[in-house]
């Protein structure tokens, strides 16, 4: 089975902190994604990566950055956390040519 693992299930951070969310996949997928999910807004794409060191902005990249130094690992960085970044963050991965994405269990981030 495909396994996408996010480093934390729940996080509480203070406003202004730099926050790192880590994601690891074990299926040698080329593509990796970060989404956030909010009630009434659904899933929104923050960033995606199709190869090591490659990244593309999604629909809502403001306030976020990403890092992909190894194929299996994709990190989401909140440069200076704000309360409006309180959300469920979901990492996903897929093969380059098959848009069948597999998700991690999610990280519930609360910024206070």
């Amino acid at each position: 089975d495909v396994k996408v693992t996010q480093s934390s299930r729940y996080l509480v951070k203070r406003t202004g902190e730099k926050v790192f969310l880590e994601c690891v996949q074990d299926m040698d997928h080329e593509n990796m994604f970060w989404y956030r999910q909010d009630p009434g807004l659904g899933l929104r794409l923050i960033y995606f990566s199709y190869d090591v060191k490659m990244k593309e902005k999604g629909d809502i990249p403001e306030g976020y950055s990403v890092s992909r130094e190894k194929k299996e690992r994709f990190s989401l960085i909140l440069e200076s956390a704000s309360t409006n970044q309180t959300s469920m963050y979901l990492c996903a991965s897929s093969f380059w040519d098959i848009p069948r994405a597999f998700f991690g269990q999610g990280t519930r981030l609360t910024v206070v």
């Binding site: 996408v4 593509n31 659904g42 995606f48 098959i98 848009p99 998700f103 269990q105 999610g106 519930r108």
Partner: protein, 113 residues
């Protein structure tokens, strides 16, 4: 007009009923269609994956795509309380590339014992 429309529900049905969940989309270029199930406080789990028009069956689940109407459906037969979850449709333009998936907002389904 949003790219993918999905009724948020909640949709409440008795155990054993046939459930029909639907999405409409606006862009005829979409070719890949998926259904995800998401339990509360968990990540989405891929249920069905189809390419182009037609039906695909997996156990109690049937996915149907009508590209001429830009309409996709998920049918659940003999529904169980364990099927209670949010169901998300997702679509993609092509099999190549990393443009991500476009998701519906999800339908909250409740199966009453």
């Amino acid at each position: 007009q949003k790219e993918v429309e999905q009724d948020p529900g909640p949709l409440s049905v008795p155990e054993g009923a046939i459930v029909s969940l639907n999405c409409t989309y606006s862009n005829s270029a979409f070719q890949y269609f998926m259904w995800y199930r998401q339990y509360s406080r968990k990540g989405p789990e891929l249920l069905m994956y189809t390419y182009s028009s037609g039906n695909k069956e997996d156990g109690r689940f049937t996915a149907q795509v009508d590209k001429s109407s830009k309409y996709i459906s998920l049918f659940i037969r003999d529904s169980q309380p364990s099927d209670s979850a949010t169901y998300l449709c997702a679509i993609s333009y092509s099999g190549g590339g990393a443009d991500g998936l476009t998701f519906g907002k999800g339908t909250h389904l409740i199966i009453q014992p």
